[in-house]
Amino acid sequence: MITRIEFKLNHEWIRLSVDSERTLLWVLRSDLGLTGTKYGCGIGACGACTVLLGGEAVRSCTIPVINVKGKDVVTVEGLAMNGHLHPLQKAFVEHNALQCGFCTPGMILTAYSLLLTKPAPKEEDIIESMEDNLCRCGSHQRIIQAIQSAAKKMRR
């Protein structure tokens, strides 16, 4: 059913007329052109489609768009502010914490959500919260280092 939905997307309110059952992932990618959010598995098992919903990392491939009505959604495109990279983005670049880069947006947003609740995470905390984000190229060691280094910078 076509419904009018308002929600905050990357810090600005937007209004859409969409079929409310459609998934957030495809609305973001095909209707709104925000292609940084990726399809990887379609069942919430890989984390490539991760976005922030009210600051919490969620799997956009399993969320009907109606569920974000009135809420605050941030995608990887909304992370840099006023032309400045977020410390996590900077750290991922500096640590070469990516290869093909397909899982990277989801990795960064999941880490963002972790640092909101745990500004000084231990390695075990990072592993636990990143566990369901899959990377086939094997950048895991560098991703952990990048998150640790970003956390340190953000605490300053």
Partner: protein, 719 residues
Amino acid sequence: METRKTIEADSAVPGAFGMDRRQFLKIMGGGILVFFIPAFPGQVQEALTAETGRLPKDFNAFLRIAEDGRVTCFTGKIEMGQGIITSLAQMLAEELDVPLSSVDMVMGDTELCPWDAGTFGSMSTKYFGPPLREAAAEAKAVLTELASERLQLPLERLGTKSGVVFDKQAPHQKVSYGDLTKGKRIERYLDKKPALKPKEDFTVSGKAVVRTDALEKVTGKTKFSGDVSLPGMLYARIVRPPAHGAELREADTSRAERVSGARIVRDGDLIAVVHSSPDEAEKAFALIKAKFSRPRTNLNDSNIFEHLLAVAPSGNVVAETGDLAQGRGLSSQLIEAAYRQGYVAHAPIETHTAVASVAKGKVTVWASTQRPFGAQEEVAAALGQPLQSVRIITPQVGGGFGGKTHNKQVVEAARLAKLTGRPVQLAWTRAEEFFYDNFLPAAVVKVASGLNQSKRMVFWDYHVYFAGGARAPSFYDVPHQRTTAYGSWRGAPGFHPFGVGPWRAPDSNTNTFARESHIDTLAAAVGIDPLSFRMAHLQDKRMIRVLEAAAKGFGWSSTTTPSGKGLGLACGIFKGTYVAVMGEVEVDIASGHCQMKRVVCAQDMGQIVNPEGARMQIEGCVMMGLGYALAERVRFRDGEILDLNFDTYQIPRFSWLPKIETILIENPEMPPQEGGEPAVTCMGALVANAIFDATGVRFYELPISPERIHEELKVHARV
């Protein structure tokens, strides 16, 4: 406009370009163009020609210095995470004396880039790098000549730095590359070998740099194929059989047709639904009722090994030294074993994706592929169009590992675009990705071996079924040895129940698992520490050096296995690169859970262009290798693939991560060898050997899953 040529080239090279060369060069505009050919050694060239039937003797890559001073390298290679977008640019920047930031890489576009066989087999840096450097040296020589005329100075007084030619005696006297190329049109066809910069003068190459594509990747700006959106584009879903070998009986699409905006496309066996929105296409797709005949092959992931042994073709002896009968006679202890490896998926996070558009007879496809020129041929053949009318553009590829050498989705998208008259995006679902993957082949290796009274290997009779023979021969010093290969890793009708193909280090994972496991077994049988046992059977200095480096880095202490400590090692040679890994595993006896705690990898890969890139590749190999060693195995039954997503098919996760330490051995005298694959080959044996050291139980089949460990240890405990 000035034109100088050192070789007269044909005006049109059918097959080498997507269009007439004259037309092509015209659109290139002014500047300096240097054309070159990758330096394949004879046998590689032959193999490539045999495989592709299309290796042109003509130049097949080039670089351009434009009038604005920007340098562009046009290559048919593609970037899929392995990092050549950075390392090739580094080599070019180094030799040409320009900042890395002024280099642009145009990759995998069949219209702009000269023909290339594909990005696989880790050949990019090894065979493409040296002529790229030579081309850059040639360009630099042209620029210096031009500067000599412009500045009225002899060549020997001129130096180059940061895109500028300057007077060595008065450095303020200078002219930029951009200024020198203005209004010029100079073409060079590289046939001689210009002098290259000595490695002592390197400032860019060999230095750790940040990936040049990292910024776009962390901001979500990078375009992968599925991120391409064209006006009027439709998203497609294709009806798939439930099992390999299944045939379509009937399909009822009437309910799907009633979904608003959905359109059904039928062309022979191809039944698809297209819609302007991907999830509406999905919704309509779910309403299609298709019936298939189901084959009964009675093959599954448990009995596949018996099947493979039963259908194997006769063997080819690929290497032989001494006399096997004599070796057997000299043996005081004979040890035989069979090793097995199940099917493993590539599972890149980006599924096979393509966006195709057909307009005025011209087909353009943006595709996630490791073989854009192969895709071009396949699309042209499928659509019955001339090759020149098909253009494949390869954006960044979200992981390949060999799996994207197969271009099925590219052809499907092109067919649908032609049938609908609209641009079509086809992004395979994860289930399609698993179903149509060309897996690492299941394989069996049988080894019979013998030791003499002085604890030396004297006999090695090695039989490999479907894992490839080229790299199967052992490099250990055994006087009487023979290697026989049955079938190849490529598969052929009647052997495997579905597609198999190149999987990162295609012929080496199963062979290294078998060889290095068996060497450990022999070492344990004579009570010698596995490192000393290997060293005692090695002559090759490079191999001895990587083992010594790994042992030093790891802190390997001589001990016989099983020591209970969970230590293991493995080593191998892959395409000119030597690698040794050592590691420590912790096995939870109760659950069977295995955790690699630490992995040290020493590698000698010749000259190292991008040390950071090399380390990243090794780390990636370690993680990916843990997957096939500990968990990954595609389950199937009667052609049906039972693992179709990441809920049941487990790939390595953060919690699996060992502390990975990489040791790059300086070997500047040797040109760059290969870095993307060697370490992955050792991971199966490393894990098996470490588990043996921890538990005393030898595992002969990969993956060594927790269930298997649990079962085996239970049996062992009863004994």
